[in-house]
């Protein structure tokens, strides 16, 4: 039986498609709101039913917006929360909370294996689950809200004065991060690659230029390699972080990362935790999308009639080109991403 989308979900999908909701943060926020609404609604009686609904809606979102992985990520968070809260409550009821949940001693870890294989029956109605979930959801919301701020405060740890920083396109995390850096450090030079054809780099440059004590240089994408020899650090945002520590980032990020590797410039990627996706994709063909080519070459020009014109939206950046991830919980090496994923999501939810 196919799941019917909720009214809120269709609205969100529409809003994202027509561009009313933009940016991973707002999409994540809106998705979280939907799931919160689902949890509050009376349509589910036990944890299993809730998880069914969440999975169903998530699948719909995924099918409608394959490029927006954050929706599935947040659904996975909800699923994990549900499992945790259910287990906790279940344990309390069973009166062995002290035994199995409170302490994870080494002995427990070793001997646990056989026990944990026993699947929990989530279909049992559980008292107080809704309230506990809403409580916990509040935490997730605050984490989401403060994620950008938490990334920003790390700016001082990574940027010294008189640095030459290169960035690409326009990422909100990068914008806030750099603004913070400009406030704290003097004589920065920020080189912004414009990221054609949308040229969103122009917006970032204009926004940063409002700050004092900073030099903003806008370069066309072609000049990235030429400028890289003088760059101290590359700081980019990303669309999502893949399970192997690779990036699915704006088109052009691959070149930037390669050029940085060529000149041994560290590449710092700002990625809040909600952008971590348990997807194992290691080539761009697996996820790329092509956008409208009108900006690349006008449709009415003569050669455009015959030529194939591509305007891909994403680039895959392999993990070996990334030096460091900065998330709201701190810095991580690309090789550590898999570990973060296991902490963040339940292994059974990796496939929704």
């Amino acid at each position: 039986m196919r799941e019917q989308p909720l009214k809120e979900v269709t609205q969100l999908i529409h809003a994202i498609k027509v561009g009313l909701v933009e940016g991973s943060y707002s999409i994540t926020n809106k998705t979280l709101d939907i799931f919160k609404y689902i949890i509050m609604s009376k349509s589910w009686q036990n944890a299993d039913a809730l998880m069914q609904i969440v999975r169903g809606q998530c699948k719909i979102l995924q099918a409608a917006l394959p490029q927006e992985t954050v929706t599935s990520n947040i659904a996975r968070r909800i699923l994990k929360l549900t499992r945790e809260e259910f287990d906790l409550l279940h344990a309390k009821v069973q009166h062995f909370a002290d035994d199995s949940q409170a302490s994870l001693s080494l002995h427990k870890l070793v001997t646990q294996t056989s026990e944990s294989n026993v699947s929990v029956d989530y279909s049992v109605p559980q008292q107080g689950l809704r309230e506990a979930l809403l409580d916990h959801l509040q935490e997730v919301e605050t984490e989401l809200e403060t994620s950008s701020e938490n990334i920003c405060v790390q700016a001082e740890e990574h940027i010294h004065s008189s640095e030459i920083i290169l960035t690409l396109g326009h990422s909100r995390s990068v914008e806030n991060f750099l603004k913070r850096a400009i406030k704290k450090r003097q004589f920065l030079t920020i080189i912004v690659a414009e990221c054609a054809p949308a040229c969103r780099g122009h917006n970032l440059a204009a926004s940063l230029a409002a700050e004092k004590n900073v030099e903003i240089v806008v370069i066309p994408d072609a000049a990235i390699f030429a400028m890289m020899s003088r760059v101290n650090k590359v700081i980019i945002g990303t669309h999502s972080v893949l399970a192997n520590g690779g990036l699915r980032a704006a088109c052009g990020a691959y070149t930037v990362a390669l050029a940085a590797k060529h000149y041994s410039v560290p590449v710092i990627v700002l990625a809040p935790m909600y952008k971590l996706s348990p997807l194992h994709l290691c080539e761009q063909d697996a996820f790329n999308m092509v956008g409208c080519a009108e900006d690349v070459i006008p449709y009415d020009s003569i050669p455009a009639r015959e030529a194939k014109v591509y305007s891909p939206m994403f680039d895959y950046v392999p993990p070996e080109l990334v030096t460091l991830f900065i998330s709201n919980t701190g810095g991580h090496a690309p090789s550590y991403v898999y570990r973060l994923l296991t902490e963040l999501y339940h292994p059974e939810d990796l496939e929704i």
Binding site: T189, E194, C195, A196, P197, C199, H202, N203, A205, A206, A209, A210, E211, K212, V214, E215, I216, V217, V218, I219, P220, D221, A222, A223, I224, F225, A226, M227, S229, R230, C251, G252, Y254, T255, L258, A259, H262, Q284, D285, N288, V296, I297, S301, I302, P303, A304, E306, A307, K308, V309, Y310, S311, P312, D315, Y316
Partner: protein, 571 residues
């Protein structure tokens, strides 16, 4: 330099005055409508003064105002202890007729420079950095605005075909320039400590030989009036000028003047096209050249051509191909037989130019194409960047051979020269794919070979080419796709360079602004926001699999070898 100039200044100025007077006498009859023009304008220290002077030119007020500013400036000069500037120059206003426009250009140019210097100096003392920047901008703008009307005036006057007297005047001046150029040569040895730094720019602009003695083509002038690139890393580079202010130089042959404008406006672009256009113009210059009385043909032509090349260099820094062609031409001049009449010598030179074009560009392209045809086979996907006449030629040749291949044209903003390439290949019926440079990773997997054109090959094996070339090579390397750079040996340069920043060219930064809705609009007003439009980048040899030249397919590092074994492109 300042000290060395001090040493010969008296001689120079005396000579100069003599030359000017001679010229004046002749030109006076031809041109009565000329207004007196103060030659001392360069000494005016700030932008307002420049304005006054250009206004004088335009509104033809009598000398009164000019002389007041002049005397003021003169006083200042005197107080700065420049005894060598002869008062006769300032006083001989009325007789200035023939030299007028030339003097005026010089004056304008000098004044601009002085204004800029003054703005800089004052700003540094009084105001903080940001204010200084805005000051500079303003003082730059003032002369730029004032200049065009004056230029037009001059053009109108100059247009009625060069009269005999005028031509004589020109040659006279050229001779003067040459003698001074020779006088200057031994100087650099005795480099005296710079004692009078502040007055130096003014002196320089008084000298009419500045153009003749300016730096070699491979070096960029440190600063020009309109060079207002504010990116710190690129302060040493000159920004592209919006309008050429050298159009009205009477010493410049019309064909060169036109070429200068074409260079400056980027209507003639590409290494080969620039070289061919230059050689055609040069042939015109040779054809129309008249040896001054009691002068040797070869030497006087050399001086004249040097002046023309300097003019072109001011319009846009010379391409390596052009400076190589010029070096060859100069070399040819020194080898001219002495006992042959002038007309035959001209024919000889014309023939040399024709063979140079044919051999170095035409036949070289065929040879390179010949080498590459063996490499292009059915099913190949060639990836190329921007527009290259040579790559286009190779693709057309392959199409003629009925090879089934396709081409991926990678392009970049703001030039979008790849669209031109796409148009040309499309005209030949070659199937094409077109992407922007940040999508190069997306299409690189399809490519079987990367063919790149080059602006020049440097002696350390680096490839200098349109910005973005290095990036394409980099991505190709990451995908293990062979990178072939196609470059004729006439583009080989003896320069060494390890990054794209020391020597480069900057195009108009406003090209980065897209339409009215672009956030970059009005970027000059938005704090320290600056677009940067680099022209070239440098591809390190490790990213290039091979260079295809007409001699052979070689590794990049063999450039110095070619430079040595091919002495006819030597220097």
């Amino acid at each position: 330099m300042p000290g060395t100039q001090d040493a010969v200044a008296p001689e120079k100025t005396r000579e100069q005055v003599m030359a000017e007077r001679e010229a004046k006498k002749l030109a006076k009859q031809a041109k009565k409508q000329n207004k007196p023009q103060s030659p001392a304008t360069p000494a005016t220290p700030a932008a307002p003064a420049t304005k006054i002077i250009t206004e004088v030119v335009q509104t033809t007020i009598t000398t009164k105002l000019t002389t007041t500013t002049t005397t003021k400036a003169q006083e200042k000069l005197d107080s700065l202890a420049i005894k060598t500037v002869p008062p006769t120059v300032a006083n001989g206003n009325d007789a200035e007729a023939g030299e007028k426009s030339r003097e005026q250009i010089k004056a304008d140019r000098g004044a601009k420079k002085a204004a800029k210097k003054a703005g800089k100096g004052a700003g540094a003392k009084v105001e903080d950095t940001t204010q200084r920047l805005s000051d500079l901008k303003e003082s730059d703008k003032a002369p730029a605005k004032a200049a065009p009307p004056a230029t037009e005036n001059d053009l109108e006057k100059k247009k009625p075909a060069l009269s005999k007297a005028e031509r004589r005047a020109i040659q006279e001046a050229q001779r003067a320039a040459k003698t001074q150029g020779q006088a200057k040569k031994p100087q650099p040895a005795g480099k005296a400590p710079p004692t009078a730094a502040p007055k130096e720019p003014k002196r320089e602009s008084v000298s009419p030989t500045k153009a003749a003695t300016s730096s070699s083509p491979s070096k960029c002038p440190a600063s020009t009036p309109s060079g207002e690139c504010r990116v710190k890393l690129f302060n040493h580079l000159v920004c592209a000028k919006e309008d050429s202010q050298f159009i009205n130089d009477p010493l410049v042959h019309p064909s060169i003047a036109r070429l200068g404008v074409q260079y400056a406006k980027r209507t003639v672009v590409g290494s080969n096209a620039r070289c061919i256009a230059f050689l055609h113009a040069l042939r015109q210059v040779v054809h129309d050249f008249e040896t001054p009385a009691k002068k040797e043909f070869g030497r006087s032509l050399d001086a004249a051509v040097k002046h023309h090349v300097d003019h072109l260099h001011k319009c846009r820094p010379l391409a390596v191909s052009v400076s190589n062609a010029y070096k060859q031409f100069k070399n040819q001049l020194t080898q001219l037989p002495a006992d042959i009449p002038e007309t035959e010598l001209k024919e000889l030179l014309g023939h040399f130019i024709d063979t140079y074009i044919e051999n170095q560009i035409g036949k070289a392209a065929q040879a390179i194409s010949g080498f590459l045809q063996e490499k292009i086979t059915d099913g190949d996907v060639l990836l190329t960047f921007a527009c290259s006449s040579l790559i286009q030629f190779i693709c057309e040749e392959a199409k003629r051979r009925k090879v089934a291949f396709r081409v991926i044209v990678v392009d970049s903003r703001p030039g979008c020269e790849g669209q031109e390439m796409l148009r040309r290949l499309h005209a030949y019926g070659i199937p094409c794919t077109y992407v922007l440079i940040n999508a190069v990773g997306y299409v690189m997997a399809e490519a079987t070979k990367v063919l790149l054109g080059a602006h020049a090959l440097l002696a350390n094996g680096y490839v200098m080419a349109r910005t973005g070339t290095a990036q394409v090579a980099l991505v190709a390397n990451a995908h293990n796709v062979p990178v072939l750079v196609c470059c004729e040996t006439h583009k080989f340069s003896e320069r060494f360079q390890t990054d794209a920043i020391v020597y480069n060219e900057l195009s108009d930064p406003n090209q980065l602004v897209r339409g009215d809705k672009c956030q970059l609009n009005n970027w000059k007003a938005k704090g320290k926001l600056m677009p940067l439009n680099l022209n070239y980048d440098i591809t390190p040899p490790e990213l290039v699999s091979a260079v295809v030249t007409e001699v052979a397919i070689l590794p990049c590092t063999s450039v110095p070898v070619i430079l040595r074994i091919k002495p006819d492109i030597g220097y």
